[in-house]
């Protein structure tokens, strides 16, 4: 039953469609965020389900995050030494790498890694559960699917992304140390001293705050796309793609906002 051309929406509606969709999207995500909060504080608290998600988001991402952190630290150290040598400031490399990793690189890249690995997995799993009526089955068994499926995933994102981010920071610093001292012949004492003097507790706290926000955003966006997926296998595929794309875009938008706010406060 194909719709006749006369049924097409008016021109103004077609022009405004992206804006309308954006507003609708904010509404959908906002509603899911509210429901997630409301169901998170209501018993029963399913410890086993929560542990499974912590393991999925955290433990299973550890190797990937460590790997990316290690290479990021190496590349960042090499590039900083290359640039700073031009004006004889390579002694600052340790501090600059430490600052960049703690305030930006660790939270942002960790969130992107979690979006790519765990976020896509969440969207695909929830989307598949929606398509095969498993979410409906939960409802018929008087189990609220948001409480059972979304709350543990969002909570796991909030808890594990800061921990993974800290791990990224430490491994990244290790990579920078290895290449800086081992290959680029920097002085280890000065390298360590610059980290100690330039890196303030505030920098680590700001990184941690960003990680919490990113963890929440990435897991919520992934759950939103999976939970409301429609259209069978194709729909699940689209939901997974959208989950990763919008999580990554969301991380950069939130990073801009948070960085502006935090540097203004500083």
């Amino acid at each position: 039953m194909s719709a006749p051309a006369a049924d097409e929406p008016p021109l103004w509606r077609r022009i405004l469609a992206p804006a309308i969709e954006a507003v609708e999207e904010i509404g959908v995500v906002g509603e899911l965020a509210f429901k997630t909060m409301a169901w998170a504080v209501r018993p029963p608290f399913r410890v086993q389900v929560m542990v499974t998600q912590l393991e999925f988001v955290g433990v299973q991402s550890l190797f990937l995050v460590g790997l990316v952190g290690f290479f990021t630290g190496i590349v960042f150290a090499v590039q900083t030494v290359y640039g700073f040598r031009r004006f004889g400031a390579e002694n600052m490399v340790g501090g600059v790498v430490g600052l960049s990793l703690s305030r930006e690189m660790a939270p942002v890249l960790t969130a992107i890694m979690v979006a790519a690995r765990a976020g896509s997995g969440m969207a695909a799993e929830l989307g598949n559960m929606r398509a095969s009526e498993q979410i409906d089955a939960l409802e018929t068994m008087a189990v609220n699917p948001i409480q059972y499926l979304v709350v543990p995933r969002v909570a796991a994102g909030v808890v594990m992304v800061p921990i993974l981010s800290l791990f990224f920071f430490i491994v990244g610093l290790g990579g920078a140390w290895l290449v800086g001292i081992g290959i680029l012949q920097l002085d280890p004492g000065i390298f360590a001293d610059r980290i100690r003097t330039m890196l303030q507790p505030d920098d680590l706290i700001q990184g941690a705050v960003k990680s919490v926000v990113f963890g929440y955003a990435v897991s919520l966006i992934a759950c939103r796309h999976g939970y409301y997926a429609s259209g069978g296998a194709v729909g699940v595929g689209q939901a997974t793609t959208r989950a990763v794309v919008w999580s990554v875009v969301g991380v950069f938008i939130l990073d801009t906002i948070l960085t502006s706010m935090m540097t203004a406060v500083s």
Partner: protein
């Protein structure tokens, strides 16, 4: 006992619209307590949409769905969660949880909704799996079993809670004839033992006439015939006769295979169970 005569489920002027497509056009249906209503009709007639409203998986565009005198479409999420403890549903696509074993799938509602200990849960689950001939698959996952077995596990999961209102969405589709009759027997057993009220969607005409107290035929979102099986069989409605003819089953085979108790008799059992459940909830509080 005027209270016992009140119908269990009353659907009034139910309309469901998706976008610019109207799927249900003001459906009126009544299911008496401990009755089995079988809904027949062509694909895309709105049967699944209709039964999904009974358990509030869909919210109506307009109209009411009264279960025990309460409009379930008007309940909040929390109230609905309470109400759903009395419902069960067998899904067309099984809807088994991929991440769990067959045993855990069937045990899931017991673990979530009751305070039974693990031994009691184990006994009940294995008994139900045995009834459906899938006990040997208890430790397998849904991906490791056939479609027919998955269907039976889905039925076991819905029956294990012994709910007051059971909804079956094509319970015998994809099953061999022998297993199909076993499923009919189980639907009947639930009714005879516990006074369960059932709504069954089926394309299996033998099954429909075997288990139904009432048959409703849905065509393009409208109920075109409703009544006891004998009345539907003799209906002069073209659609009904066409559907029965097209099923290829001789009219003489479309009859009940067994003697059964009247719904009024079973309604007393159902009421007693309802009172017991209410007392158990009150005791917990």
């Amino acid at each position: 006992m005027a209270e016992e005569e009140a119908p269990h489920v009353v659907i009034e002027k139910l309309v469901k619209v998706y976008g610019d497509r109207t799927v249900l056009h003001g459906v009126d249906l009544t299911i008496g307590r401990s009755e089995t209503l079988v809904i027949i009709g062509g694909s895309g007639a709105g049967k699944s949409t209709l039964v999904r409203h009974l358990i509030a998986l869909e919210r109506p565009t307009s109209g009411k769905i009264m279960v025990d005198g309460v409009d379930i479409a008007a309940l909040s999420d929390v109230e609905l969660n309470q109400a759903r403890r009395r419902f069960g549903m067998v899904f067309q696509k099984y809807a088994l949880f991929d991440s769990m074993t067959i045993f855990d799938n069937v045990a899931f509602p017991l673990r979530e909704q009751t305070r039974l200990d693990e031994k009691e849960i184990r006994d009940r689950v294995l008994a139900k799996l045995r009834d459906l001939g899938v006990e040997h698959a208890a430790q397998l996952t849904p991906a490791q079993i056939s479609g027919g077995m998955a269907k039976r596990v889905g039925i076991a999961r819905a029956l294990v809670m012994e709910p007051e209102l059971l909804i079956y969405d094509e319970p015998t589709s994809g099953l061999d004839p022998v297993t199909s009759r076993t499923v009919d027997d189980l639907i009947e057993e639930m009714r005879e033992k516990f006074g369960v009220t059932s709504a069954v969607i089926t394309h299996d005409m033998v099954s429909a006439f075997d288990i139904a107290d009432q048959i409703a035929m849905l065509i393009k979102g409208r109920v075109v015939a409703q009544g006891p099986p004998a009345a539907v069989l003799e209906s002069s409605n073209e659609d009904v006769q066409g559907f029965i003819r097209a099923s290829g089953v001789e009219a003489t085979r479309l009859q009940r295979r067994r003697a059964r108790k009247a719904p009024e008799e079973l309604a007393r059992v159902a009421r007693a169970r309802q009172r017991e459940a209410a007392a158990a909830v009150a005791a917990k509080r």
